[in-house]
């Protein structure tokens, strides 16, 4: 069970207030628990712990000058992990730049995410076995891509499809033209796309209520002719359930149903927009504390303890393995030698143009003349 269109989502009205959930803030069961095995529940918990620990370490690396600007995700693990776990291996994930947790669940190694934010293009090479699209930085610009990808799948399969496509974006993205165009095309061409809005309340410093006068973001789906649902994005089980249902509808719509769904996952970004931002300038500590009480990780942990699936020992074991995995990823990223400078001229076209070849040769001569140290900052 989760709330349908019509409930309110603003800073004044949080998900605990009238929105039906699976887990309440204390991890108590208030809805239908999705049918997951014990291993899957533990995997969900571990993924969330991994995403949180990765995030803390990544922010710390940036603070130490070991990584460039980085967009943190803490607070959003429930939405990212819960939704990505609903994907089948064949389904596609089209992320924005903050979906490190979701992308990791769907097969993108943490090392690649680190390399990308460390400024190394090789971090952009998604492994062949992961159906993850290259993260988009310009806000909402990935939404038409996800529609086009899903549309292509349907066209290639003579109007049928057994794959779903999930596209992530934030509350700010709903103000962009590409949100409208991407969702409008999806409605018109009935593409198997799940539009997953991580409404974390803040687009850098601009609050959700300044993005739109709409009562909810989910209700915007009505204008495109398909279903919109508003869920507690900090309740991983509600997220998993809603995403599973949306993906099922994308693949096998019922009579009179349209394939696409807009999911508004109401949540909160605990940290800054990116490490270049200071949120204390635009929001109150009280507000942050209020939302931290809804932290998705202790909620799920309490539920799993109550179910007898987790205990102190197992929690410790998870924490230990998560620390190791992140440490290994950081070691692997930091021990990767700087990219070969000439690689800048690769991957522009399938075949280098004569002018790019000339410029690459000129660049090689420059390096030979001056040495690489002449190009690098102290």
């Amino acid at each position: 069970m989760y709330a349908k269109v019509g409930t309110v989502s603003t800073l004044e009205r949080d998900p605990g207030d009238g929105m039906v959930q699976v887990l309440d803030e204390e991890g108590g069961v208030v809805g239908d628990v999705p049918d997951l095995s014990e291993d899957e529940f533990v995997a969900m918990y571990r993924h969330m712990k991994l995403a949180r620990h990765f995030d803390e370490r990544a922010v710390s690396l940036q603070r130490q000058g070991r990584m460039g600007t980085y967009p943190p995700l803490s607070g959003q693990e429930g939405a990212q992990v819960g939704s990505a776990m609903a994907l089948a291996e064949d389904d596609w994930l089209v992320p924005s730049y903050r979906e490190h947790g979701a992308a990791m669940v769907h097969g993108l190694p943490l090392k690649e995410t680190l390399l990308y934010w460390m400024g190394d293009e090789r971090g952009s090479l998604i492994p062949e076995n992961a159906n993850v699209f290259t993260p988009a930085v310009p806000i909402a610009s990935q939404i038409p891509h996800a529609t086009g990808m899903a549309w292509a799948d349907k066209l290639k399969d003579d109007g049928e499809t057994d794959r779903g496509f999930i596209c992530y974006f934030g509350d700010g993205a709903t103000s962009e033209g590409d949100f409208h165009e991407g969702l409008n095309f999806a409605g018109v061409f009935d593409t198997p796309t799940v539009f997953f809005c991580n409404n974390n309340q803040w687009a850098i410093s601009v609050p959700r209520e300044k993005q739109t006068a709409s009562e909810t973001l989910a209700q915007k789906a009505v204008a495109y002719g398909f279903e919109g649902v508003q869920i507690d994005g900090m309740d991983p089980l509600a997220v998993y359930k809603a995403t599973t249902e949306a993906l099922e509808k994308a693949k096998n719509p019922g009579e009179g149903e349209r394939r696409p769904t807009l999911i508004e996952a109401v949540q909160y970004r605990f940290g800054a927009h990116t490490t270049a931002d200071d949120p204390s300038v635009y929001r109150e500590d009280d507000e942050v504390e209020q939302w931290k009480a809804k932290d998705p990780i202790p909620r799920l942990e309490q539920f799993l303890r109550d179910q007898g699936i987790l205990n102190d020992e197992r929690v410790e074991a998870v924490e230990e393995s998560v620390r190791e995995e992140v440490a290994d990823a950081i070691d692997a990223a930091e021990s990767t030698v700087r990219p070969e400078p000439q690689s800048m001229f690769e991957h522009v076209f399938a075949e280098q143009t004569p002018e790019i070849r000339r410029q690459a040769e000129e660049f090689a001569r420059l390096r030979e003349t001056h040495g690489d140290e002449a190009f690098l900052e102290e």
Partner: protein, 333 residues
Amino acid sequence: MSTQEQEATQNLTLVQSVRDALATEMELDDDVLVMGEDVGKNGGVFRATEGLYDEFGEDRVIDTPLAESGIIGTAVGMAAMGLKPVPEIQFSGFAYPGFDQIVSHMARLRTRSRSRYTLPMVLRMPYGGGIRAPEHHSESKEAFYAHEAGLKVVIPSTPYDTKGLLISAIRDPDPVVFMEPKLIYRAFRGDVPEGDYGVPIGEAVTRREGSDVSVFTYGAMTRPTMEAAEELAEEGIDAEVVDLRTVSPMDREAIVESFKKTGRACVVHEAPKTGGLAGEITATLQEEALLYQEAPITRVTGYDVPYPLYALEDYYLPNAARVADGIKEAAEF
């Protein structure tokens, strides 16, 4: 591409050769599809897709909502999944709502994904002035796209080249912006082989051999340039006319080779002068062939003013007389 199999030729206008190229490739490759505003039942506002809807159906000749970013952005997604979309922007002056998709994604996806995702797509758009059209229907902004790394920019000037270049563009593994000179969509006919053939992207062609001065141009400006060259021949100035056909990657070798022969050059385009491709061509000649140069290189271009409403467009667009002046200035220095 098979040239032996060509059995017959047709006498087509430039816009008919666009249609012929699309039909030819759609017949040969099920992954090729056409999408855009009014391209389906209506056959395109210029009839560039006429009859394709009936022939290939609504899943391959797709009437889209009126949304340029949506058209280009969804085409990016389709191409990333292995289709070969050929989206049409109805007029190049309306491409700007999709500009972010062009420069941030269409041009960059190969680089951004280290070639995991590539975009075999062709973005067609009619460009240029001279058809008495309303505001925003006459601009020539090829320099925007040529400036963007990761895009190829093709501008044909004959029916034969149009078909061959469009086929090459559709088969190219990378995104191509295909700008069609709408002024000459129906201005004349030319022999166009039936069946498939390619004209290579990135190769200029010499339209008129000459020894006194090299004239570099492309697209709709090729006609007044040829006219000027013929007129000047009667005055004893023998101009060589090089039609670039692709403005990015530009055939610098052909440009330099012609210039080494003549030592003089005039560049003609209808786009505004500042930041236009004439500057790029001039700089290339300075870099590659300075010691051959015998005169300042002249530029005959549109002016640095917003494209005027059509009562004044004949004054804005370079015509044969202006081109002839520019050629003479270079030839007689």
